[in-house]
């Protein structure tokens, strides 16, 4: 088949001349960059873009793609080991990955992440290779109403991230949405909560928020541990391998996550955040041990990691077939293409097949390289945890601060990170969950704007929110989730077992009240 021939040429390109070296450098450097708190794929690619300026377009793009996959994996490393995610997509990995590390299963978590990334990446790339043409046009069916429905669904799915008191999770989501409203409003141009600072016109930078909420507040929390002399070095990382029981639990998670990630990636504008979120929700719903989620359920790492990497393949489809970026990282790749003098558009595949297939080929290669490179390195990465507490946290702190600065070459972002560091510390003490907050910040803008766009286009008619099957499906699913969340606790309360428990508790109490 034609496609396979092209793919073969592409993989050959990836090995020709300097290109293989570029892949190696990109993957290696990307992994280290991704480990820095707050630096994930989009910021990693943007930061390392200058490295590629002297290269030819194919070589440059190949290096950037190596960086892309590498930094995704690096982000998982810092999420799992240091509780400081690289960017929004790694936030979800942190929820179960870090508890696993704290229980001494860090090696297994990292290994699982590596395998999941490989499987997800492969599925995504296979999808890109064979399904690019037919799927490309599908993405176009997402207009404002469809986006609103998808974002609503994703936001409701954040409810599955919540542990503990429901009202605190809701507070977290509302606070996140409020943060997302800061800035110049897209539809009207009105300034909202910008306090006359031009730095706030574009809103509060999501990554600065992540760096603050997770990086800096993590350091503050760790100070508590260090000063109370409770800083236990993680004694053992466990074996760098997964137990057979863990493999069994994960096998479908890998596949589920990959498929979900790929499909979400195809929709332009829905990136790693939505992909990992929906995968986590799916894993939780289909798991036999849902109560373990948030405390170290390995499916909570396997699914989202696969989804994250699969979404790359999906996001590249609109980029290569239509010239439209599918996620923030692909948007930077688009910019890179333009800097190299290539005009992305519907003709990219036909006019620059060497470039496109070279990139796809090198992504396959990078995927394999990463798994081979990183599995031996897992031991080294994990030894970082063994460092004494004070210097380790000093490093995290300065990484966070420098990372925040390098986002926009602006010290304002450091201020934002610091403020959110304090806020994060406060919220943690009050047991307000931070992951839903961050996801609400990521999704809030898109949610509100697409709602208002859809209503504008329908002249205020709410029927305009359901103009198509896609919108109806997502809104329907959202309503379903809300109903389930509301009804299930009530039915559980009424179950015979619980009624008996309550009666027993009342009996116990009586002697004490006299």
């Amino acid at each position: 088949m034609d496609t396979i021939a092209f793919l073969a040429t592409g993989i050959a390109t990836a090995f020709s001349g300097w290109n293989f070296v570029y892949v190696l450098i990109g993957a290696f450097v990307g992994t280290w960059i991704g480990m820095l708190p707050g630096l994930g794929p989009s910021t990693g690619i943007a930061l390392l873009l200058p490295l590629t300026y002297g290269l030819d377009p194919t070589g440059g793009m190949i290096m950037l793609c190596g960086i892309y996959f590498g930094s995704m994996y690096g982000g998982s490393i810092s999420s799992i080991l240091l509780n400081t995610p690289g960017d929004v997509s790694s936030v979800i990995t942190m929820l179960d990955g870090n508890p696993m590390a704290r229980r001494g299963r860090g090696g297994a978590a990292l290994f699982c992440a590596a395998v999941a990334s490989f499987i997800g990446g492969s599925v995504g790339l296979v999808g890109l290779t064979f399904l690019a043409e037919p799927i490309a046009r599908f993405a176009l069916r997402f207009g404002p109403a469809e986006y609103f429905a998808l974002m609503t669904f994703a936001l409701i799915a954040t409810a599955t991230l919540m542990q503990g008191a429901a009202v605190k999770g809701l507070m977290a989501i509302v606070i996140g949405l409020m943060i997302a409203t800061v800035g110049i409003d897209l539809q009207s141009g009105a300034a909202r909560f910008t306090m006359n600072s031009p730095n706030l016109f574009d809103g509060i930078s999501l990554i600065a928020v992540i760096i603050g909420l997770f990086g800096i507040s993590e350091v503050f929390t760790n100070i508590q541990e260090i000063m109370a002399r409770r800083w236990g070095k993680v004694e053992t990382v466990g074996r760098l391998w997964m137990e057979p029981s863990e493999w069994k639990r994960c096998r479908f998670s890998f596949l589920r996550g990959s498929v979900i990630g790929f499909m979400v990636g195809v929709v332009p504008g829905a990136g790693g955040a939505v992909a990992t979120l929906l995968s986590y929700a799916a894993e939780r719903r289909s798991s036999r041990h849902p109560e373990e989620f948030g405390k170290g359920a390995i499916e909570g790492v396997a699914g989202p990691e696969a989804a994250n990497n699969a979404s790359v393949g999906g996001a590249l489809i609109p980029l290569f077939t239509l010239g439209l970026p599918g996620s923030s990282a692909t948007a930077i790749l688009l910019g890179a293409l333009m800097i190299f003098g290539i005009q992305p558009g519907p003709h990219l595949f036909t006019e620059n097949p060497d470039l496109v297939w070279g990139i796809i080929g090198s992504l396959y290669v990078a995927n394999v390289v990463l798994v081979i490179l990183n599995i031996p390195f897992i031991g080294i990465f994990v030894r970082m945890l063994m460092m004494p507490g004070a210097p380790l946290n000093a490093i995290i702190l300065l990484l966070a601060v420098t990372g925040a600065y390098s986002l926009n070459n602006n010290v304002f972002d450091i201020q934002v990170a610091l403020v959110f560091g304090v806020i994060g510390f406060l919220l943690r003490s009050a047991q307000v969950p931070l992951a839903p907050l961050v996801l609400a910040v990521a999704l809030g803008g898109g949610l509100e704007q697409s709602l208002r766009q859809a209503l504008s286009l329908s002249d205020g008619d709410p029927a305009g929110l359901v103009p198509s099957g896609i919108a109806a499906v997502f809104l329907g699913l959202s309503a379903l989730l809300v109903l389930l969340a509301a009804i299930l606790p009530a039915t559980r309360l009424m179950s015979p077992r619980n009624r008996a428990l309550r009666r027993a508790a009342k009996k116990e109490k009586r002697p004490q009240t006299q």
Partner: protein
């Protein structure tokens, strides 16, 4: 904090400017500060300038620094922290005028030192290739008869060049610019996606944004707001002037320096940029990006900016964006 640094910087600048009065050449690395992320319009202009100037016109190395934010205002503020220093320049567009008029930025072009205008980027008025609106005349008729039925979408802010062009069309054709359903997208890609997916009927954007899609047959460009026909994929597209409507508008791109530059410094840059505009390499960049040459020196630029500002004031008032 920022004020403190600025005061110290100005003190140093005053001390050194006496010595700099005779110097009219850069003596170290030059920085082009771009108020946008890599890959966008501003950035491409800056890198085009860097590529051509570094090739022998200016003796010093040039760096392009990205400091995005507030549509360019953050980058301009950053550049302006080096008053009187010719080693810092930046790129301007109508954003600087719109921000001043709308009060979103305290900076005015008179407070900085505009050096030159280089190009204008004219706009394509586009519909989906399968749209019922097959010619500009169809579009005009639809806008006059039932403006409320038209779904208009564009990027990136209300009151920007795309929106102003629409207001000018409204004035020339005779429909109420507030009537069509108007939605704004975060970036050019989102607007193109919406048009391709037929979620909007009609969009306006710089020609380069649509050119590839016109070439592939997905988008039809009904007219351009240029003084003359554009080339490349758009050579068959009529201008509004040809069609009988006086709509000639497109965002300019120019070069600006910080406040307090000496006439010799301005003259150096004017000269360098004019040399650059005459090179083959530059003309190639212009053609590839669907720009149109519009070279003006310092004095002409000052007058040009003032007239543009008046024009914008009128359009923004029509759009209800000025109180």
């Amino acid at each position: 904090m920022a004020a403190f640094s600025r005061i110290v910087a100005m003190a140093l600048a005053v001390a050194t400017s006496a010595a700099a009065a005779q110097a009219a050449e850069p003596t170290r690395v030059i920085e082009i500060i771009v108020g946008a992320s890599p890959g966008g319009g501003f950035d491409r202009t800056a890198r085009a300038i860097e590529r051509v100037l570094e090739d022998g016109i200016v003796g010093q190395p040039i760096n392009v620094i990205n400091q995005p934010g507030a549509g360019g205002a953050v980058g301009l503020a950053s550049m302006n922290r080096h008053p009187g220093d010719m080693h810092y320049i930046s790129i301007i567009s109508p954003n600087i005028l719109t921000d001043e008029l709308r009060g979103t930025s305290p900076m005015t072009f008179e407070a900085l030192t505009p050096i030159a205008t280089l190009v204008s980027e004219y706009l394509c008025f586009a519909v989906h290739a399968d749209s019922d609106l097959e010619t500009a005349a169809d579009l005009v008729a639809a806008l006059k008869e039932k403006p409320e039925a038209i779904r208009f979408g564009f990027a990136t802010t209300p009151g920007n060049h795309n929106h102003v062009a629409f207001a000018q069309l409204a004035g020339a054709v005779g429909f109420d610019v507030m009537k069509p359903k108007t939605v704004i997208f975060k970036g050019a890609s989102e607007a193109v996606t919406a048009l391709l997916g037929r979620h909007i009927d009609f969009s306006i954007a710089p020609a380069a944004s649509f050119a590839e899609y016109v070439r592939s047959g997905d988008v039809k460009c009904l007219a351009v707001s240029a003084p003359e026909r554009l080339g490349g994929a758009l050579s068959d597209v009529p201008t509004w002037t040809e069609l009988g409507y006086d709509v000639v508008y497109g965002p300019f791109r120019g070069v600006i320096g910080p406040q307090g530059m000496e006439p010799e410094q301005i003259a150096f840059w004017e000269d360098a940029l004019q040399k650059m505009a005459a090179t083959e390499a530059w003309k190639k960049e212009v053609a590839e990006n669907y720009w149109t040459e519009n070279v003006k020196g310092h004095d002409e630029t000052m007058t040009f900016l003032a007239t543009e500002r008046d024009l914008l004031r009128a359009s923004l008032t029509d759009l209800g964006l000025l109180q």
